[in-house]
Symmetry: C2
Subunit: 309 residues, 2 copies
DNA sequence: CCTTTGTGCTTCGTAATTTGCAGCACCATA
DNA sequence: TATGGTGCTGCAAATTACGAAGCACAAAGG
């Protein structure tokens, strides 16, 4: 869009940290870009960038403005999506940030289901921890976020929130695999592997351990569920994951056992968007589908857990 | 702002109803304007106007777009206001729509009080009935609305809502002036003057009369409180008004008596803004001041009513 | 029935704006 | 002190937007 060009350039300068670098990114000369910025600052009535040795950085006024710019660009996209929708095209793009646990099974299935009905809708999936996901929403880089244990609920609209128990993950021949229900202290007696502090599941574990005499002494700390999954097969260790990130009925090398709610509080899986924002048609519909799927999730989990026995 | 020029032109075309008229308003030639519209429609990907004999009109896509445009312009204004505020200037503009009753005493006093602290803030006041006030908010032509008995609360955020009884207004020598408390049926026994149906106070009166055997038979219907005020001095008639629109202690030709709540329900004086919108600093502060003043209003009324006896 | 008056749209030469190139002044670091 | 980075600035060239006039069309007016 032509009339947003200057605004996009400002955004580019902000991202690049210097006018010359941004000029290269946007395929124009630095002089042209520089003059556009100066011109904009003049008609805006205040400087947007503070000039320092080695580049530029947004000043407070610029921070305010960049937020407006991103909102404006995102909102124009929404309008175009709605227009495309009312001309019957059902086109559009959905950008979603999600926790790692969502990514292996749940999200691919949901996207495939949606695209089966609307083939000309495309998707961006950003795997983010709970902090980064919220940052994505704020910067209008994601339309939706589906994360465990969000940090700052204040700036967002919660579309749905469901609870998920924490599961212990271990090899099929692990001593604990025999028990039906596990206590947290059983798990901590064995070597255990946990995610780093920024991950929601670790937050819940830390919360649980805080009120116990037993301490958590992780053998390994890894942010990759893939790694944990293979690690517990090598050394009779215990890992942790939410059931939505597990293939409850289909894995014959691993065993999954829920932890008692008294030990580890359930995780809140929350679907959110930027507060007050009107989503594009595609995003709004996909959010509805996600909400429906999440609502029917508990029953689904029970069914799968029964199968796995 | 340069980059909004095309958008403002589109808005102008929409308001004028024809490209040539809008071109004249905006001081450019019709050919230039026409080309900008065509160019915009091309890069937007869809027509915005439907061409008909004698002019143009927005199509559904255009309606969506114009809403976006107005929102963007208003939001940019908000950003500039915030920027001015953080550079310590306390400048800005507040645009408010209000009921007729607010306009003679309350609003001027409030604006004067605000401007005493922030002299470089300017105001626009639009006197509107309850329907038109909401339309103003939707079109981003007013930042705030202070109206009695709003119609569609759905699209707006309510900042505050206070109750006001309906008062009967009559000449000082009117037979009813002797009574301390009035019933509606007393008033209807005399010639009475009421506002037209779109005014909030009439809505309340109609509501009240609906459950009575007595009917309302207005001698006159007028949308001007000024007219009503003088009319009741000429012919021993009764008018109606909210106390916020009355000079309870200072008028020696008129008498005001509250109507019992059992007869006529209290009117809801509601301060609203467009849903989800972030107001400019000046508007937000003025809204706060209004809210504080409205909250302390009941005591104030009691004090004034006591004085007037 | 033809004229008038309004519409949106197109063409073309010109005016205004933006761009790119080169260079300047500045600052931190090596 | 040299070097490599920055933002900024004249000046000519290129691009873009503009204004004046005219075209085709459609609804009213005499």
């Amino acid at each position: 869009m032509k009339h947003l060009q200057t605004l996009k350039l400002i955004d580019a300068v902000n991202k690049a940290g210097s006018i010359r670098k941004a000029a290269e990114d946007m395929n124009i000369t630095s002089s042209a870009l520089n003059r556009r910025i100066l011109g904009f600052e003049e008609e805006f009535g205040a400087p947007i960038f503070e000039r320092l040795h080695g580049g530029v950085r947004l000043n407070p006024a610029g921070e305010l403005l960049i937020q407006h710019i991103r909102g404006q660009i995102a909102d124009l996209e929404r309008v175009r999506s709605q227009v495309a929708d009312l001309s019957g095209l059902r086109r559009g793009h959905v950008s979603i940030a999600c926790s790692q646990a969502i990514q292996p099974y749940f999200m691919p299935a949901q996207i495939a289901a949606y695209r089966a009905e609307h083939p000309s809708v495309s998707f961006s999936v950003h795997v983010r921890d709970r902090d980064a996901a919220e940052e994505d929403l704020r910067a209008f880089e994601s339309d939706l976020a589906l994360v465990f244990e969000p940090v700052h609920l204040g700036d967002f609209d919660v579309l749905l929130s469901v609870e998920q128990p924490v599961y212990a993950v271990m090899a099929r021949d692990h001593p604990l695999a025999a028990k039906e229900k596990l206590r947290l202290r059983d798990c901590l007696g064995f070597p255990h592997i946990v995610p780093p502090k920024r991950i929601g599941i670790r937050y819940l574990l830390d919360l649980a351990v805080a009120s116990m005499s037993q301490k958590m002494e992780p053998t390994a700390e890894a942010d990759s569920f893939e790694f944990m999954r293979h690690y517990v097969q090598q050394e009779a260790a215990v890992g942790f994951q939410f059931p939505i990130g597990l293939n409850l009925s289909g894995d014959d090398r691993l065993t999954f056992r829920p932890l008692a709610k008294e030990d580890v509080p359930y995780g809140n899986l929350t679907l959110m968007q930027m507060r007050g924002r009107t989503l594009s048609v595609a995003s709004a519909r996909f959010a509805n589908q996600l909400a429906a799927a999440l609502n029917s999730l508990p029953n689904e989990l029970i069914r799968l857990a029964r199968q796995s026995r």
